[in-house]
Symmetry: C2
C-alpha cells in the first residue's frame, strides 16, 4: 500500500485526489488546503493546518508555482519523499529537508472537465533512485505513459505544452470572436478543430499541413487579409503565414 | 432518387464519392477526372472526357479553385444544377449556363484519413430556391448539420477555418520541431492536443484559456523566451502572448 498526502486542492489537487481514490494499492491519507473545501466528502480526510500533517510515502504538492518553496518548508516532517506537480519549476524549488522529486501530469486541468489519467503522460524525477521507482509505481497505476524527465527537459516540455495548449486555444478564441463579429456560429468550426487534433495523433504535423500559406496561394492570402480589420489579427496572420512558408521551404 | 455527377477525383472528390455510394436514394452517376484513376472500381463509372458527361440532378465540382471556371464551362449540358465545393470561391465563379450553387463540406480532407461526413457541417447556397431544397436534401442524407451560407459568409468561414486548421497545425509543427531539437518526443504532447480540442467542444475558448500569458506571469514568460533561440519563434511567442493579454483585458 502506497500512502499519499496531497497538498493543495485546486484543479490539479482535485483531479489527482479523485484519481488516487479509485486506485487499488494506494491510500489517499490526507489532503491539506489553506481553507477547508465546502464540499463534504466522507472518503477524504481534509485538513487546513499543515502542522497536523502526518508523514506519508509520497507527499504531492499541487499548489501554485510560487508557493512550492514555502509550502514544502512548512511540512512538519523531514526525510520523506515530497514531490511537486509543476511543469515549469525545477525540483530544487522544494525545501531540501525532505527527499525531493517531481510528478508532473502533462495535461491541462479545468474545473468541471473530467480527466482520464490513463492517457496522460506523467513525467517523473527524483534525487533518489528508490524514490524514482516508487514514483514510477504510482505513475503506472494511473497512466500507461510514465516518463523519466529531468528538470531541464521538463522546462522545455512545458514551453512546448504552452504552444500547443495556450496558443492553440487562443487561435480558437480569435476565430470565435471573428465569426461572432460576422454573425456566424463558432459551432461550425468545432468538427474541424477536433479533426485537426485527431489527425496529428497519426501523422506528423509537417505532413498534415494544407491551405493557402503552404500552397503559396497569394490570391487567397491577400483575399484573407482584406477580410480582417483588426491590425493585430492581420499581423498574426502574416507572421504565421511567413512561418509556415519558412518551415516548409 | 437523386443522381449526382462528381467532377474531380482529388481528396474531396474521393471522400465525397465514397460517402455518396453508401447513401440510399442517391445514385453516383458518373465521376469525371482529367485522367482515369489507377484504382479499378466496379461501382463507379469513371470518365476522362468531359464532353461524354450525361446530365444529372446535381453536378458537383471538386476541382481546384482556379479550375472551377473552366471546368464548369466545359460541361456539355445547360440548365442543370451545378455546384462547387470550395470554401473561398463565390458561387459566381461557376459558368452561368447551368443553375449555380455551392455544397461546401467544412472539413480538411487528407489522403488516407477516413472522414465521417455525419459530423461535418455542409454549407449550401443556390440561386434557385428549389435547388437549395435539393441541396439540403442531399446534405441531410450525409450530415446532421446543413447550413445555408452565402458566398460572402462562406469567405469569412473559410478564413476562420484557416486559422483553426492551418495555423493550429503549424503550431503543432513548431512544437514538434522544438522538442525534436531538444531530444524530446512529440508523442508526449498528443494527449494535451486532443484535450485542448475536445475542451472547446463544450466550453468557449475564452473560458478555456490558461497559462502564463493570461496569468501575466512575467517570470515564466521570460523564462520561456530564454529557452528559444530562433528569432521567428520568439517573435510569434511574443505576439501571441500580447494578443492573449489584449483579448483578455
Amino acid at each position: 500500500m502506497i500512502s499519499v498526502n496531497i497538498l493543495g486542492y485546486g484543479n490539479v489537487g482535485k483531479h489527482l485526489s479523485q484519481a488516487l481514490l479509485e486506485l487499488s494499492g494506494v491510500e489517499l491519507q490526507e489532503v491539506y488546503n489553506r481553507s477547508l473545501p465546502t464540499e463534504v466528502r466522507e472518503d477524504v480526510a481534509f485538513i487546513d493546518t499543515i502542522t497536523d500533517l502526518k508523514p506519508a510515502d509520497i507527499t504531492i504538492l499541487t499548489v501554485k508555482d510560487d508557493a512550492i518553496g514555502s509550502v514544502s518548508k512548512a511540512i512538519p516532517y523531514e526525510g520523506n519523499l515530497v514531490v511537486h506537480t509543476s511543469g515549469s519549476m525545477p525540483m530544487s524549488k522544494l525545501d531540501a529537508k525532505n527527499r525531493r522529486g517531481v510528478f508532473y501530469p502533462l495535461q491541462s486541468f479545468s474545473k468541471g472537465s473530467e480527466i482520464d489519467f490513463h492517457t496522460i503522460p506523467i513525467c517523473i524525477e527524483a534525487e533518489d533512485k528508490r524514490d524514482l521507482t516508487l514514483l514510477r509505481l504510482l505513475g503506472e497505476k494511473l497512466s500507461k505513459s510514465v516518463q523519466e524527465i529531468s528538470s531541464e527537459e521538463r522546462k522545455k516540455l512545458h514551453l512546448a505544452a504552452t504552444w500547443v495548449n495556450n496558443f492553440t486555444n487562443h487561435i480558437f478564441h480569435l476565430a470565435a470572436n471573428y465569426l461572432d463579429e460576422n454573425g456566424l456560429s463558432f459551432d461550425l468550426l468545432k468538427p474541424l478543430i477536433l479533426e485537426t487534433a485527431r489527425k496529428i495523433q497519426e501523422i506528423h504535423p509537417s505532413a498534415a499541413q494544407t491551405g493557402p500559406a503552404i500552397r503559396r496561394d497569394s490570391a487567397t492570402l491577400q483575399n484573407h487579409l482584406n477580410q480582417m480589420s483588426d491590425p493585430q489579427l492581420k499581423e498574426i496572420y502574416k507572421l504565421l503565414t511567413e512561418s509556415i512558408q519558412n518551415i516548409n521551404k
